[in-house]
Symmetry: none
Subunit: 223 residues, 2 copies
DNA sequence: ACAACAATCGGCAGTTCTGCCGACAATGGT
DNA sequence: ACCATTGTCGGCAGAACTGCCGATTGTTGT
């Protein structure tokens, strides 16, 4: 991160069947000065055949592929190119899929749609030995772990705890299905203030929509 | 005063008994402009007593401490400082130690010797809700997890009787916070079809918004 | 054969939400 | 006195959602 001259670029490959997403990722990676995208594949067969020759440091692997499962592709790749780190990139956040991927040798797990900053952060994280994953994914893993023994402390409950009383009031209204303007009426504040509270709630809970926040609210309530 | 967003520094504390390592980490953290190191401790007792007052966002906790186990320290700390994330920092990579640390409430697990980039990356990762750990650690967790547990995710009550199977699928996606376009990708159908299913769901459940439908979904699920 | 339904698509207007730029007053702690 | 936090507001652009007008293809039951 400091003044290190002549830093070799991080080599990357992408396996993704959706042309739109593929193009999107290519654009993001192309703009990064410290990243070199060696190849982009739309199916698992091509990827498994070509990637060992390209030897990228990082592979982003979609799970929904037309010919094979992304997990299958990881299993094929891992033994062959030991220096490659694989980051799964998918919409599935169920525990089974996550665990199968990681057990197959994946080094990270991110949920689509992925933001450009998130993607580049993942590239650098994984190339420096880290494990990029969203907080929700990590929480699933840790929670599953904690279930067997003691109480898991780092859960939704803790994220809820950092909400202020007013923010919790707003979130409860959202959980009942009220519109912004209805929340405003109920709490005797302006539409704009509801708006601001919700912005803060999203930031603190690391979510990007009302329904994600409500889902987390219910998870916490019934856990 | 406002033109520079006055980004608050990430506050950090370190618990580490080896003086050399302690100094090394202090130097690294001191050089980071966005990090403020509030305290460095050489034993667990001091750390457990002082850290709740300092309220750092991140604590790096060694496991080999002279007076107590680092896991013990985490257990003491977690209930008291809810906003603090703990990253274990140790030479032990055996499954039991990792397991116990995470169960005690740790948010991450890194192996010594730690590089400066790695340390700073971990600070930022954990302060933004992530979970720093090396890929080897993550794999160990996954593997040992795979032994004990089998997934039991699908507990769908068959109420919501009026909804068709497809509509319930869509509703479950909504309950996880997906956007229309994400549901479309997940179910391999078009945006417009998702739209139509949701119209039917709203009509059958007598609601007028996504969040109301999701609230009803959760009510049914947990009743 | 026909009706009813389920599942899949399209367009379009209007509403709602989200993100980002700001602001100000009150409070409490250092 | 100063700073951080909280709660309260405004505007605006773009994204997402909702509602309503359609449609075709199958399946199921009568």
């Amino acid at each position: 991160m400091l003044n290190v001259p002549a830093k070799p670029k991080i080599t990357v490959a992408v396996v993704e069947d959706d042309a739109r997403v593929r193009q999107h990722m290519a654009n993001i990676l192309k703009r990064a000065p410290d990243v070199a995208c060696l190849g982009i594949f739309s199916n698992a067969e091509d990827a498994v055949r070509e990637i060992p020759q390209l030897r990228p440091m990082v592979v982003f692997m979609d799970i929904n592929l037309p010919d094979h499962d992304g997990v299958w592709a990881v299993q094929q790749l891992s033994p062959r190119s030991l220096q490659t780190q694989v980051v799964m990139l998918t919409v599935h956040d169920d525990t089974d899929t996550i665990f199968n991927s990681l057990a197959a040798g994946a080094s990270g797990y991110l949920l689509k749609p992925i933001q450009s900053a998130e993607l580049l952060s993942a590239v650098r994280t994984v190339s420096s030995g880290g494990v990029p994953m969203t907080s929700n994914i990590a929480r699933k893993i840790i929670q599953s772990f904690g279930n067997a023994t003691t109480a898991s402390v780092n859960s939704n409950r803790e994220e809820m705890a950092c909400l202020t009383a007013r923010e919790r009031e707003v979130l409860e209204c959202l959980a009942k299905g009220y519109l912004y303007k209805e929340v405003a009426e109920l709490l005797k504040i302006s539409y704009r203030t509801v708006h601001t509270h919700i912005e803060h709630i999203y930031e603190k809970l690391h979510v990007r929509s009302r329904t994600q926040a409500v889902a987390m609210f219910f998870d916490q309530k019934h856990s």
